[in-house]
């Protein structure tokens, strides 16, 4: 596997326990380069342990971990991996007595940013994450949102090849959370490989190229949201509304309709997406004056619960 072509992260049958508690149990999945992979799962699913195993901060008790085609268990390779990774932990872990600049300068020095580039990188990262005006203030006085932004700025300062985000919006107000997610989206569009852990499904919506659903240290399922939708949400749905919604009930008799529900608006489950025009034709022919026809993709939340239901 060439160092720059294989997956950014490859876990194969990885196991890690803490005393009697098994945190990761035979976990296997890959993070392709240049993609955003979201680890979804409830608290205690083993997501944080995965981040720690990927950088080599923790050693696996079994199986194989490959990060950027290197083995984190080998000392020199582990150091190289950590130099090329940026991590935003669940708790931003900043130095409150130091200023924002000092926090960033510390990370830059530790992550071996060339000293001549440090000032430029700090200014760039601070500008990008909207904290340039607060850089001279002590971090102890930062709001939770500013701390999250500073943690993100610190994680990208050395231009990592792989970005690991552990619940990056935990404890943020909706506005700050949205801003942070926007910034992650921006980084992903810039070609960064991102592995993000979350239990907030809305957070992953629209960001994920690949979703790995975890529970009890195992990957229940993984794939792109589209693949998972096809697998766990096979029937396309359309929301339909009309001047007189009762006329919509005629849809139930159509041969390509698999399910029908009317609760204010009607939700129609079809056999194929291509059946939508036929549905519209049939309803118009029945005398309905349609005011809304909206094909619906499932939200990640609906998908997540469908997957869990299937596995239970």
């Amino acid at each position: 596997m060439s160092p720059d072509t294989g997956p950014a992260v490859a876990l194969s049958g990885v196991r890690r326990s803490f005393g009697d508690v098994v945190a990761v149990d035979g976990l296997t999945f890959e993070v392709p380069r240049g993609t955003v992979t979201v680890l979804l799962g409830p608290n205690g699913a083993g997501k944080t342990t995965v981040v720690r195993l990927v950088t080599g901060a923790l050693r696996a008790h079994g199986g194989a971990v490959q990060t950027l085609a290197l083995d984190p268990a080998i000392d020199e390779q582990g150091t190289e991996i950590r130099r090329r990774c940026g991590v935003v932990p669940a708790r931003p872990a900043l130095y409150d007595r130091l200023s924002g600049t000092d926090n960033l300068a510390y990370a830059a020095a530790l992550f071996q940013v060339a000293p001549t580039l440090v000032d430029e990188r700090i200014a760039e990262a601070a500008g990008r994450f909207g904290i340039a005006d607060a850089l001279d203030l002590k971090v102890g006085g930062y709001s939770t949102g500013m701390r999250a932004r500073l943690a993100l700025a610190r994680a990208v300062l050395h231009e990592p090849d792989l970005l690991l985000l552990d619940e990056p919006t935990a404890g943020l107000d909706p506005e700050s959370a949205r801003a942070v997610l926007g910034l992650i989206d921006e980084m992903a569009e810039g070609g960064k490989t991102v592995l993000m852990c979350t239990h907030l499904l809305l957070e992953a919506e629209g960001l994920a190229d690949q979703v790995v659903v975890m529970d009890h240290g195992q990957a229940m399922i993984s794939g792109s949201p589209l693949d998972l939708t096809r697998q766990f949400w096979p029937a396309p749905r359309v929301v339909v509304d009309a001047d007189d919604p009762s006329i919509l009930d005629a849809a139930q008799a159509l041969p390509f309709v698999r399910g029908y529900q009317r609760n204010g608006v009607a939700t129609v489950e079809l056999e194929h997406e291509t059946d939508v025009p036929d549905l519209v034709d049939a309803l118009v022919a029945s005398g309905a004056r349609l005011t809304r026809v909206e094909p619906q993709a499932p939200t990640l939340e609906q998908l997540y619960f469908a997957i869990r239901r299937e596995h239970q």
Binding site: F18, R52, T55, G56, A57, L58, R59, D75, T79, E80, R82, R83, C85, V87, P89, R91, P92, A93, L94, Y95, D96, R97, L98, T101, D102, Y106, A107, A109, L110, F111, Q112, A114, P115, T116, V118, D119, K138, R154, L164
Partner: protein, 280 residues
Amino acid sequence: MSRRTDNRQPRPSWVIARTDLRQLMQARDFWMPLTIVALLFFVIIPTFLLLILGSVKDANLAKKLSDVVGSLPKDLQANVHGQKGPASASYALAVYLFAPLAIIVPLTVSSAVGAHTIVGERERGSGEFLAHSPATERQIYLGKLMASLIPGYFTAAMGFLFYSLVVNLIVGRKLGGWFFPTTNWWILMLWVLPPFIALALAVILAISARVSSAAAAQQASALATLPLIVIAYGVSSNTLFRGSGTAFIIGGLEWCGAIFALWRASKAVSRERLLGMGAA
């Protein structure tokens, strides 16, 4: 804000130490009491005692003070300069009896800093940042060691400077000129003291890496430091009471012990412990 002009990478251990020291400088509530302790032991108490000794007029008391000098080992009595009575007692006090301060004060400062250094990272959560950094466990340990050793040794050096001034200004006046530091004091400060602080820090850092809270680290470090203070009395007194050769041997033994203890203690610092695992 251009602060750097060259492209040399600082060593990770120095980066960690420098950042810890910078945080310490910002924590006035932490270093202020330690500075007061240093001032008390190196300046205020010696000044007070030496001034009192120097102002004794009563003949009876002067004789008793001569007896203090007489209680020193025979070969040292010959070294005690000055006239009989208060002047020679001042000399003895300044040169021989304050010696333990040179070790106890830096030991107190370094142990206070060292006790927090690793467990503090864990409590703040910044241990996670260090655990994910490219710094090796050895470099993290070295950084923490330097960050704890430098404040202690700096305090000792500054205290030594002020103490020398106090002794020379108060006692030297009576003995015809500045005489302090003596050779053995130089040996104590440059050869015996550094490994002693390092030895103590080896114990304290190993504790700091293992316990679960800063309060527990403080308690355990205090417990570990107590016997070291007793040893400090013996070591420092022996360094000054015996000849330079013995002082060099004591220092040499300490260096051996310190290097071994530091090597052993370096194994206590691991990424897992920085993440809060394996803490007692």
